[in-house]
Amino acid sequence: MNAHVEKVRARGARMRQRWQNMPRQVRWIAIIALLVFLYLLPNRWFYINLWYFRTMESDMATVLFETSFFVLLAVGLNVVVGFAGLLDLGYFGFFAVGAYTVALLTSPESRFDIGWPWLLAVPAAVAVTMLSGVILGTPTLRLRGDYLAIVTLGFAEMIRLYAARNEGIANGQRGIPEIPHPVPDLKGSDGQSVFGVVDARPYYWLTLTIIIFVILGVRNLTRSRVGRAWVAIREDEDAAQIMGVPTFKYKLWAFAIGAAVGGLSGALFAGKQSFINSDSFQLTNSILVLAAVILGGAGNVYGAVIGAFITWYLPEWVRGIGGALGLEINVAEYRILIFGAVLIIMMIFRPQGILPSRRRAAEFADRRQEAAPTEASA
């Protein structure tokens, strides 16, 4: 098993090396091409030609939007689980807090009825979820491993049950309707609002843009003292603390950042659906995001993206395939079942995930050469 892991590592290192060795221009062109592809993807004239890639039975743009916000969730959770190594089973709790904050601030049906525009409510939602992350984290981050998992699980369930039972603020099962869409004043060429009910594309583009910024932010953090502290905590918390890492502070930061991204996805979700109730925040979703992170490769931003993409997009895609092959099975309904099996297989054959976290050996390759000549004099 170990030999296999080593082999995979070596292969990954070679691929990374090859990528690093490409001229800067080539890398930029590849990245830009990928981004252009992703932005073009929800257009019918574009995806209609990708018969092997597009979904058959569901609206491609809607599926892409759902996938994209699921990716955003995975990127956020990856900070908590992948980098800092804190097992958070209640990530959807933060998602719910973000969604409800937006709903309460914007909807005319909400108890407060202050009717903020969506755009203004988003930063508020992020701030509130971050705060809820700090409030939850302050007492619980002293716990480790399984205990933390149980507490976060409880948190998510508390949020959901409160939303379901509370009539005063959360409207119980009836939920909160009439949440405004983002930027209603932005009109398209047909005089309709760009962010409407029918067309999911603008929401996808918005989420995609947010994902890009979040990924850049997370990358900046992981390639800094903060990221080193997170990995050190994950590897050996006691040793990290003795080496001067304020472990509690950085765990709390990881928690707060993860929560903020979760809240941001919740805000997007509320803005798209324009209606939320507690049913949107089932526990299985928390587990599914976690599974996506593990599947993709905890501790690697792009691993989380790929994991989330596979987790959400593939079942939708297979649904169409089933239909095309004349099968009566709706594969999407068996998503969790198939997913469980895939995870077990992954844990046996590739426990590090599809795109595992790799320490950035190549980044220092040039420094190594630089250091070698001075070796003799030292």
């Binding site: 932010g217 900046n220 800094s224 990995v231 472990t247 320490r359 050996a361 220092f364």
Partner: protein, 276 residues
């Protein structure tokens, strides 16, 4: 190296450290109990600035416990430990590191999935001020600290002769891992470096290299506390030795004195019942 040899006679010339030597760490009548077990019993000694102090004793004598108490892992039941006059226990462990006490571990505890360079940079970060906001927005202070931390890490890796800074810690050889721990501890800019059996599992050649490294560290102005089983290493490198047995200090003095101390010989070799 010759430098150290020149200094050595000075210290051997006097029986006790001259009073003008500045006390760095004071272990002041420390008792540490775990339930009914007395791990340390009224242990009392002082570590002076610039010296290499050996802490020896048979297995289970309380060396590592003493060590853990000094680095703030355990709080003494009675007595206290002062570092530059300030109480050590009761502080968060990372604060103690910032105070200037660094340590290595008896069983190597590196961050295996990080590169050698990153391991050392974690230590260097101990005195850095950047946090999430400046790292997120790549403020000038971030670049400044990142660069200085990286340069320092490279210097330290060269200092302990690790030639592959980009290698994952887990892929380094055993000896390199031990030296990497030392580099990581040094990166926190300590005044006091505590080494917990750094030569465990070393062959004679490696032990010699380690001996030289420890002297080199002392020559940079760092005080060293050394726990070690290997007598040759301890006798060869330390300025003074404290001997523990069953949680009690049974001897303290220059290496030569300690070597001839009957109590120490008894502790290590055992005493025939009729002689006792």
């Amino acid at each position: 190296m010759t430098d150290t040899a020149d200094k050595a006679p000075d210290t051997t010339a006097t029986d006790t450290p001259p009073p003008q030597r500045e006390a760095l760490l004071e272990v002041d009548h420390v008792t540490l109990r775990f339930g009914g077990v007395v791990a340390l019993n009224d242990v009392n000694f002082t570590l002076y600035k610039g010296e290499i102090l050996g802490l020896i004793g048979p297995n289970g004598a309380g060396k590592t416990t003493c060590f853990n108490a000094m680095t703030g892992v355990y709080t003494p039941t009675q007595g206290e430990i002062r570092f530059r006059g300030e109480r050590v226990s009761g502080r968060a462990r990372h604060k103690i590191t910032q105070l200037g006490i660094a340590r290595t571990f008896q069983n190597i505890r590196l961050f295996p999935e990080m590169t050698a360079l990153e391991n050392v940079m974690v230590g260097a970060d101990a005195h850095h001020k950047t946090s999430v906001p400046s790292a997120l927005f790549r403020l000038p202070r971030f670049w400044k600290e990142e660069r200085s931390g990286r340069d320092r890490a490279h210097d330290l890796l060269r200092f302990v002769s690790i030639e592959r800074p980009g290698e994952l810690a887990r892929n380094l050889s055993y000896g390199e891992q031990r030296r990497l721990e030392i580099a990581r501890a040094l990166a926190t800019s300590p005044t006091l470096l505590c080494l917990d059996e750094p030569a465990a599992g070393f062959n004679p050649a490696e032990k010699d290299a380690l001996l030289k490294l420890i002297r080199k560290i002392r020559d940079t102005g760092v005080t060293v506390l050394l726990i070690e089983h290997d007598m040759r290493l301890v006798m060869g490198v330390t300025d003074r030795i404290v001997v523990l047995e069953f949680g009690k200090k049974i001897a303290e003095g220059l290496p030569a004195e300690v070597r001839d101390n009957p109590a120490v010989i008894a502790a290590y070799l055992g005493v025939p019942t009729d002689a006792a």
